[in-house]
């Protein structure tokens, strides 16, 4: 079946079976391997993408449901110069990245949060990440990275 949607800001058309999840569509039909597969039952968040700005588990979205809609994957999160965005930079600086497998999902979840709540509290950040499992970091530095981004965007801290 043919599926037409906006992917990372670009109109995209792909031919794929109707009965696969979006995760499979992205990784195997569109060669975008940044979105990871961790459990296939919507419990780990490694497959998180934005669907019309909302963070969702792409392992549970039937691929044809993205027809006409807007999907953003980690490959679409970039700074204005095409390099890491301020959020991605903050992840590196704050020690939020260890093995990196949960990182794309975390960044998508954080991006969705900050789009809705530019000045979230720490508990709000934690709640926004509560659907993304990490086994390496213990989460603290990931939350720190998001707080750092919030402060910088508010002009309270200069980027190193």
């Amino acid at each position: 079946m043919r599926i037409q949607f906006t992917l990372n800001g670009r109109p995209t058309t792909v031919d794929a079976p109707a009965d696969i999840p979006l995760l499979h569509l992205l990784r195997d039909y569109l060669e975008l391997t940044g979105t990871k597969c961790g459990c296939e039952i919507g419990e780990c968040g490694a497959c998180s993408v934005l669907l019309d700005g909302e963070v969702v588990n792409s392992c549970l979205v039937p691929a044809p449901q993205v027809e006409g809609r807007d999907v953003v994957t980690i490959e679409g999160i970039r700074g204005p110069d095409g390099g890491p965005s301020d959020l991605q930079e903050a992840f590196i600086e704050a020690g939020a990245v260890q093995c990196g497998f949960c990182t794309p999902g975390m960044i998508l979840a954080a991006t969705a949060l900050l789009a809705k709540h530019p000045q979230p509290s720490r508990p709000q950040i934690i709640e926004a990440l509560s659907g993304n499992l990490c086994r390496c970091t213990g989460y603290q530095q990931i939350v720190d990275a998001i707080e750092l981004t919030v402060r910088r965007r508010a002009g309270k801290e200069v980027q190193a």
Binding site: E40, G42, S48, P62, E67, G131
Partner: protein, 291 residues
């Protein structure tokens, strides 16, 4: 990893959906958020030949006031319900129940209609919907029908929904003035938890300070989610007190055992249910904080 195949068709209207769901010679299921169906797919439990996508049908997405009731479309997501001003104001127990589902990712996709139709034993919205007296309105080839949610969901993964029917929305009467609500969920961890036990409660005092109305609907402890009338009876007409809510908690635990029998999990659920009944009632009736 599932390799069971099926078709996918999008319905733009209720009428279209109904036609597709009832097309002869093909087993079809409605698809909204997919958070239950896609897990079943992963586990190799595909029992459908076609999924009918109803997620874009406008009537299924409504949240509005209709006289003295709130209408919530079956396709409203848990996120939408948890954040909507009408639901937060009039039906806070439902807003909290929806907020407790899964994770942000799941809440952004899972729908109330899906939660009800799937009828999991630990479904979070069921206690709130039943406590609030929600009626499910569904469409069938024979016309529109409705059933109280407490009668629609008959057991674990079992509903009285006729084959080929589609839940369109839920009609929930606005609770009477002065009624207070509570929703409590016990999970094994702080987020993304299957409900170990839950409770939706509503209560109202009369002018003399006696319990005029009380509704207690525990979740994840009986195969059919229901009001625990025996516990409620203890409270009706009484002035709330520490001793009274304790008795109500005990009665709820006893009624649970009477309904579900003594099971391997009962030794935990008995005292825990009593505790959350007490706490919900304290909150609703403004008793001094728990010890």
């Amino acid at each position: 990893m599932s390799t069971q195949h099926y078709e996918f068709v999008r319905a733009r209207t209720c009428a279209e959906a109904l036609a597709l769901l009832n097309e002869a010679g093909r087993v079809s299921r409605p698809l909204a958020g997919g958070t239950d169906l896609m897990v079943q797919r992963h586990k190799g439990q595909v029992v459908w030949e076609r999924l009918v996508d109803v997620s874009q049908i406008p009537e299924l997405r409504v949240i509005r006031e209709e006289g003295d009731a709130i209408i919530i479309g079956a396709g409203v997501t848990h996120s939408e319900a948890a954040q909507h001003p009408l639901i937060r104001q009039h039906l806070p127990a439902l807003a909290e129940a929806c907020h407790s589902v899964g994770s942000p990712q799941i809440r952004n996709r899972g729908t109330i209609g899906g939660n009800v139709a799937n009828a999991a034993a630990c479904a979070d919205t069921l206690p709130a919907l039943i406590c609030l007296g929600a009626t499910a309105r569904f469409i069938t080839p024979a016309g529109e029908q409705e059933l109280p949610v407490g009668r629609l969901v008959t057991g674990v993964n079992r509903t009285a929904l006729p084959a080929g029917a589609l839940i369109r929305d839920f009609r929930i009467p606005k609770p009477p003035a002065g009624a207070r609500q509570a929703f409590i969920k016990i999970g094994r961890r702080q987020a993304q938890s299957i409900s170990r036990l839950s409770l939706a409660a509503l209560g109202r005092l009369d002018a003399a300070g006696k319990v005029a109305e009380v509704r207690l609907t525990p979740g994840a402890c009986t195969s059919r989610t229901q009001r625990f009338d025996q516990a409620e009876a203890i409270l009706l007409g009484q002035a709330p007190s520490e001793e009274l809510v304790r008795q109500a908690g005990q009665a709820a635990a006893a009624q649970m055992v009477a309904i579900a029998g003594r099971r391997w999990s009962t030794a935990y659920k008995e005292p825990a249910l009593a505790a959350i009944v007490e706490r919900a009632l304290r909150r609703i009736f403004d008793l001094p904080g728990e010890k």
